[in-house]
Structure formats: C-alpha cells, structure tokens
C-alpha cells in the first residue's frame, strides 16, 4: 500500500495544526500573517495533489479511501473554495474576531473533512469525515460577534445536526446489519445478488437519505439552514452554502452511484419528491425574506432542489450536470456573499432595504451583486444559466421532463426576489448615508469572481472536460 497517496490529507492536517500553533506565538499586532500562511499551505496542498494524484485510480486501506479523478476534482474544488473563503474573511476577521488562529485552523480542518468525504469509499469513514466537517462548522457558526445570534445559531445547528447524525447512523447500522458490510463495493455486490430489497435495508436507506438530506438542507430537512445562515459570520455562511453542500453532494454521488445503484428503483421516487419539494418551497419562501442572508439561504435551498434532480436520474451524464452546476453555483454564490460581506464590513447592515441606492454609492459593488444574483436566477451569459441549462437538459433527457417543468417554474419565481434586490440598488434613493469602502484585496477577489461568472457562462467547455474525467472515474 502506498501511503504517499495520503500525503495531501496529511499535509492539510499539518497546516491546520501549524496555523493553530503559530497563532500562539504571534503578538496580537501581527495576526495578519495567519491569512497568507493558511493560503500558502492550501496552495501547497493543491499543487501536491494535482502533481501527484492526477490520473491515479487506486484505493487505500482496503477500499476505505478512494484515490481517483473524482476525489481529486473535489479536493481541488474544496481547496480553492477554502482559499477564497479565507481571503474574503480577512477583513471581516480583523474587525470582528479576536482569535484568527482558531478560526483559520478550524476552517482548515473542515476542509480536510470535506476532502475526506469526497474520497471515502466506506460508510464509517464517510460518517467520521462528515462529523469532522460538522464539528468544525458548529464551532465556526457560533464564532460571530453580532449580538446573540451566533450562539443561538450554534445551539440550533449542533442539536439538529446531532439529530441528523443519529438518524444517519441508525441507517448505517441497518445497512451493515442486513448486508454485513459497510464498504460501498460490498454493498453494491450484496444488493445486486439479492433479488428483492430487504425491509431492513429499505429502512436503512430511507434513514440515510434523511440524514444526508439534512446535511444538504433539502426540504423538509431544511429548517436549520436559514437561521444558521443568518446567525453565522458571513464568510462562514458562504462556506456553509457552498462547501458543505458540495461535500454532501460528493458523498451522495459516490454513495448512490457506487453502492446503492442496484436499488435505484426504490430510492428514485424519494429523491424525486425531495427535489420537487425543495425547489418549490425554497424559492417560494425566499420571496418573503427581508434579510439578504436569509434570502440567499432560501435561494440556495432552491438550488439544492435542482441538484437533487440530477441525483434522481443518476448516471454519467447527470453526474456531469450536478458537478458542473455545483461549480457554477459555487462561483456565483461566493461572489454574492462576498458582496454581502463587503457591504456588512462598512455598514454593519444586512437587510435588503439597506441596499437602497447602492448603485450611487458604489457602482462596482452594485454591478457585481447584480451579476451574481442574475446568475443565480439563471439569466443567460452568466454561468448560472449555462450550468442550469446543462443540468435541466440532462434530466429532461433521462425522461423526467415534468420535473424539469417544475424546476423551470421555480426558477421563474426566483428571478422575482432577485429583482427586488436589484430594484433596491438601482431604483430606490439611498435611505442611509453609510459609506461603502472596498479594500484592494476584496476588490480584486470580486473582479476575479465576477469575470469567472461571465467567462464560464460563455465558455463552459474546458470545465466540462475536467468534470467529465471526474465522473467517468465514478462510472467506470
């Protein structure tokens, strides 16, 4: 067994502990060096992974960890996301938090959790890495300093998260008890050989789906999301909305494609119902929101509904669709949240009403927020349209055209609440005189994100090629 294949994960853990340690020895005036240190560490991990793991298809510890293009792609995705989140937290941290070392260290550990989730080939491993991610997030969510909201969000998150874990575990124990194995490969073989589905397995299946649906905030297991999104520090909200969802979907894709595929007839209908509920409910409730973070929370619940359509028709093509939409949605949502962070940093406000007249105060910020919201709504020329169109086409092609019809209606509804924000920015006179200052770091980050929204929207093909190699690793 080649333990060197595990090098990126080990390096990542080392970087996390190193950052925690450096924090102890740094005087309070020089805490800023933690940001470049973490980013540098992540870049090193990224380079090591790409140069060392590209094209390898192997398994570690007898199938506990799978090294393939799929896990490599998600590794890259999570690390780049981590870099962007760390960079966009820099100003926020400086202003609002006292212990940046802990924040960055725990953030790095959660990245490790996500990386392991996408690489795990066995249920216990998946569970442990999921908990590594969740525990880090419980802490990060309750980190903020804006009044009582963070602690409230933290309590809600950890209690509901614990409940979901318990349900997930019970499902795992059922699967293990009946099929006698927790390895994805073994589950697949056991399911293929048995002619009909044991009721114990069915219970386990339903409970696993419920537990995972909680983690990705699918209706009706979504109720934690808006509160936690609102209460958490905004960079963490962005991280939750993109990272933990992407990790959840990485696990779901691998689990469903490599382990549960033979039982597709049994779980397909559950996923279809979840998907239809999620996209309608998420987009409808978003209409009634006043806080922009809650609005984005519900909008991202809606996006989960679209992604679940891909799971419902799981195949090579729809895996491409899911990953592509995850990537597009990640870039877009990060840009949107970065705008919210920038606005909050200078005004300490996060209601949609407070965005009035932003076009006069900072045309650039207003434009970037408009671009990202319209991309979320799926308007053409932005990446949101391209990836959504790809996903819808794939799902329609698999025969679920009616579900696509529901999704299209949901995205028509969604444009309405994005336009409300645009209206506030462009058509309403400013109601407060808060100035908007954008630091050079944030400005350049925002430029990069906005440009990638447009460029990926027009030329998705290179990205699609990378994703194709990843999903062919799953369906080989």
């Amino acid at each position: 067994m080649n333990f060197l294949l595990f090098l990126p994960e080990l390096t990542l853990a080392a970087v996390a502990f190193a950052v925690l340690a450096i924090d102890l020895f740094t005087p309070s005036g020089k805490k800023w060096i933690l940001t470049p240190t973490s980013v540098l560490g992540l870049i090193i991990v990224l380079l090591v992974s790409i140069s060392y793991l590209y094209g390898k298809q192997e398994s570690l510890y007898d199938g506990l960890f799978l090294i393939d293009d799929f896990s490599l792609l998600f590794k890259g995705f999570f690390i780049i996301l981590g870099i962007l989140v760390i960079l966009s937290s820099h100003d926020y941290i400086k202003e609002h938090l006292k212990h940046p070392g802990e924040y960055y260290g725990i953030l790095l550990l959660s990245i490790l959790g996500m990386v392991l989730m996408s690489a795990s080939g066995e249920l216990l491993t998946a569970y442990i890495s999921l908990e590594l991610l969740s525990f880090s997030l419980y802490v990060l969510v309750s980190y903020g300093s804006n009044g009582f909201k963070p602690s409230e969000a933290g309590v809600k998150y950890i209690l509901l998260g614990g409940l979901a874990s318990a349900i997930l575990l019970f499902g795992i124990s059922q699967i293990y008890g009946v099929l006698g194995t927790t390895q994805f490969r073994g589950i697949n073989e056991a399911l293929t050989s048995s002619s009909s589905l044991d009721s114990g397995v069915l219970i386990g299946l339903v409970m696993i789906i419920a537990g995972l649906a909680f983690k990705i905030a699918a209706v009706p297991f979504h109720m934690w999301a808006p509160d936690i999104y609102e209460g958490a520090p905004t960079p963490i909200t962005a991280y939750l909305a993109i990272g933990s969802k992407a990790a959840g979907f990485a696990l779901i894709i691998r689990l469903f494609a490599q382990a549960l595929m033979p039982a597709m007839d049994d779980w397909q209908i559950i996923v279809i119902i979840l998907s239809a509920l999620t996209m309608t409910f998420g987009n409808l409730v978003a209409l009634a929101q006043h806080n922009i973070k809650r609005m984005l929370a519900y909008s991202s619940i809606g996006q989960v509904g679209y992604l679940l359509m891909g799971i419902a028709t799981l195949s090579y093509m729809s895996t491409n669709g899911i990953i592509l939409h995850l990537a597009g949605y990640g870039v877009t949502n990060l840009a949107a949240f970065l705008c919210v962070i920038i606005f909050y940093n200078s005004s300490h406000k996060e209601d949609i009403e407070d965005y009035s007249g932003l076009a006069d105060k900072s045309p650039f910020l207003a434009m970037a927020l408009s671009v990202s919201l319209l991309s979320l709504a799926g308007l053409p020329f932005f990446v949101g349209f391209t990836t959504k169109f790809y996903l819808f086409t794939v799902v329609a092609n698999a025969g679920l055209l009616w579900l696509v019809g529901v999704a299209i209606t949901a995205s028509v509804i969604s444009l309405y609440y994005y336009l409300i924000v645009l209206k506030q920015m462009y058509m309403v006179a400013p109601t407060n005189d808060a100035q908007v200052n954008i630091s050079v770091l944030n400005r350049s980050l925002l430029w990069v994100l906005t440009l990638s929204i447009v460029i990926l929207g027009i030329f998705p093909s290179p990205l699609v090629r990378i994703i194709q190699s990843a999903s062919s690793a799953i369906f080989s």
Binding site: P380, F392, L401, V412, S461, V464
Partner: protein, 500 residues
Amino acid sequence: MLLSAIIFLPLAGAVVILLGLNDPKKVRLWAVFIGFVELVLGFLCFYLFQTADIDLKDGMELVEKYEKWIPVLNIQYHLGVDGLSAPLVLLTSLLGFCSIVASLNIQLRIKEYFMWLLILQSAVMGVFISLDFVLFFIFWELELLPMYFLISIWGSGRKEYSAMKFVIFTLLGSAFMLVSILGLYFSTGSFSIIALPALVSEAKLFMPAGTMFAFLFLAFAVKLPVWPVHTWLPDAHTDAPTAVSVMLAGVLLKMGGYGMIRLAIGIFPGEAQDWAWVIATLAVISVLYGAVCTVRQTDLKKLVAFSSVSHMGYVLLGISSVVGVGGSVSSVGLTGAAMQMFTHGTITGLLFLVVGLIYDRAHTRHIPDLGGLASNMPFVGVAFLVAGLASLGLPGTSGFIAELLVFLGTFEVWPIITTLSVFAIVLTAGYILWMIQRTFFGPAISRLDEVGDVSLVQAVPLVILMVSIMVVGLYPSIISDAFALGLEPIMESLQTGARS
C-alpha cells in the same frame, strides 16, 4: 464575421461606456456612433443578402458556424440570415439608430441608459440571427434585463409595476418555450433550428407534438401579443420612455411573430394546420378587441399601444392562413404577416416618436387637453399624418400593402373571420383620424402657444422612418420578395397538410 459583428458591436459599445466613458457628451456621441455603424452594417447585411446567390436548400446566407461551442450537448454557435430574418435585421438597425437619436435629451443617468439601450439592441439582433435554439433562447432571455431597467428607471407612471409585469409575462412564456426546447432535444438530439423540422418529422417524439407546438405558440403569443395574454403591453408601452416604446413596439413584438413563423410553424407545420382555427379565432379577437379598446383611449400613448394589439392581430391572422384551401397553401398570407411585422415596426415607431415629442413640449398626453398643434409644429404634424395614414392602411403607404396581403391571403381560407377583421379597419380609420384631428387641428389652445417645432437632430429619426414607410409603400417588393424567399422552405412543408 458580419453577423457576429452585428450582434456584438452594440454589446462592445455598452462595455466601453461602462468602463471608459463618463462625460455625458461623449457617451451620447459614442452611442450615436455605434448606432450609426450598426445601421450601416444592417444595410450591408441586407444588401449582401439580396445580391447573393441563394442556396435554395435552406436559404441561409452569411452563415457563421463554430460547432465546438458546447460539444457535450451539441450546442453550436451558428448564425445566419435568410429572407425572413434579413429584413428584420434591417428593421432593428433602423429603429435602434432612431431610438438612440431620439434619446439624446435624456438627462437622468445617461451612462447607464445608453448602456442598456445598446445591450437591448444586441439581444434583439441575436434573436433574429441565431440558428441554434439555445443561442436563440439566450438572446431571448437577455432582452428582459435591459427592458426591466429601461422601463423601471427611466419610465413614468407606474413604471416599476409595468416593468415587473413585462418581465413576468415574458418569463412565463419562455418557461414554456424552454420545456419545449428540452422536449425537442430529447426527441431529436439536436438544437439546430435548420435541422429540427426534418428531424422532428422523422423522430419518435417524447411528448405529443401538439403540446410542444402549443408551448412554443404560447411563448411567442405572449410576446406578439395575442389576446388574452396581451395585458402587459399597454402598461409597458405607456410607462416606458419614448425611445424604449419605439424599440418595444418596433422590434420586440416582432420577435414573437418571427418565432411563431420560424419555430412554431417551421418545426410543427402539421400541428399548426390542425390548430389554425384556434389561431384564426384568437387573431380576430385580438384585432377587434384591440381596436375597440383603442377607440376608448384618451391618452395618446395608450392609444398607440392598444392599436399595436390590434395591428399585431393582423400578423396572427396572416399566420392562420397556413391551413390552406383547395389542397394548396398560398404564401400570400404568411408574406402579409411578415410584411405587417416590418411595416408595423416603422409606423408604430414613428407614432411613438411623435407622441414623445408632443409630450416633451406640451407636457401632457391627454387628448382633450391638446389641439391645434399643427400651426406650431408643422413638421411633427406631417410626420404624425404620414404615420397615422399608414397605420390605417392608406394606399401608397407600407401599411396598405401589408394589410392587403394579409386579407388577400386569409380571405379564401377563413372568409367569415376575415370579413369580421376587415371591420377593424373602419375602427382604425376612426380612431386615427379622430386622434390626428383632435391634437393637430381644431382650435388652437392658448396654453400651447409656446410649443415649438423639432430641432434638426430630432427630425432625423422622423425623416428616416417616413422615408422607409413611403419607400416600402411605393415599392414593396424590396422587402416582400425577401420575405417570400425566406418563407419558401416553410411553404413546402405546409403543402402536404393543406386542407382540401
């Protein structure tokens, strides 16, 4: 490269305005410059199309194709013009230039205004030129955004309500279109507008063809607009700024008619013939209902807006002739529909311009408050007279040719319905003459003594549109020949299903 240039020149112009230009004067000059170049390109495109040797197979000219745009889904960057789209490209470049020139007096947020106006022009051009369904859809959706901003920022009255209503109506329509596009792709594996008609007739369809046709028809009917989904139009037209009303009435409505002919009928000729009686009924309701509503209006702009509903009903009436009679389908009705789109664009564009000029000077659009304007603004009066007479279909103007072709083509097919529609002409004559008489003639109102005539710059778009109305009226075959040529492939596919 010509077609790509036509689509992306305004977009590039908008980006330059966004990034580089701050001085209002420069922004205006730049926008006029871009509009003018676009006008030249539009004429060049039409000229090249007219002089080219037409490849009779699909009739597409100036084709540009990049097949590997998004290869996984077989989405291609595919542009081209044929007889159906070339005149509409010309129309768009004409009205685009006119509306830019007519907006030079805009004072509020000039930079953004011209940016959105140019983006709008790009989107409309893209719709007419795209030969890939996805590309078509992209431009179709892209047009919403500039319209939303243009109406809700620079409009008047209940502008935000109207803008939102416009967006929601169009979006609902395009949701149906998207379902139909995906259904077509699932059945045939292709997004190519040229290839689809043949593929659909052979393929096993995933969804009943009638449903897909109905979805496409609905999407375009919202845009055209057809009764009963026309209600966004009077609101949007009335509350939009003048130049935007010109674009809206002049070219955006034509996107609906174009889509209906090229896509709904082009891809599903059989279904169109099955449902022709519905189309004809909707058409006559639109024509008559629109005309009756128009008669009741006292607001000049609302009057012109409602008259659009009635006039676009003629387009639908022409389309309903596809079912044919006596075993063959004549191309007269469809040609008439296409001609009506072109002429309505120029005529209504001119009417909106004149109404805008009156409102600028008299500060009211309420007809009873106006009167005797002809003595103070003779030039505007002439323009209004030309547009009005063309609108009611006076021989010698382009309106006459279009309506004549529509009625000629439909009368054999739907005698009763056509006869009913002809009554609308009487109403049209009534409200147009009444409007001209009440505003420009009659006793002068002392309050309006100070009102002056147009400046030289403001006269430019009026002259351009008047000339095009007269030219097409006196020599219609420059446009109608092109349309007839473009309709040929569709006519062929219609012959087999003709009603005996």
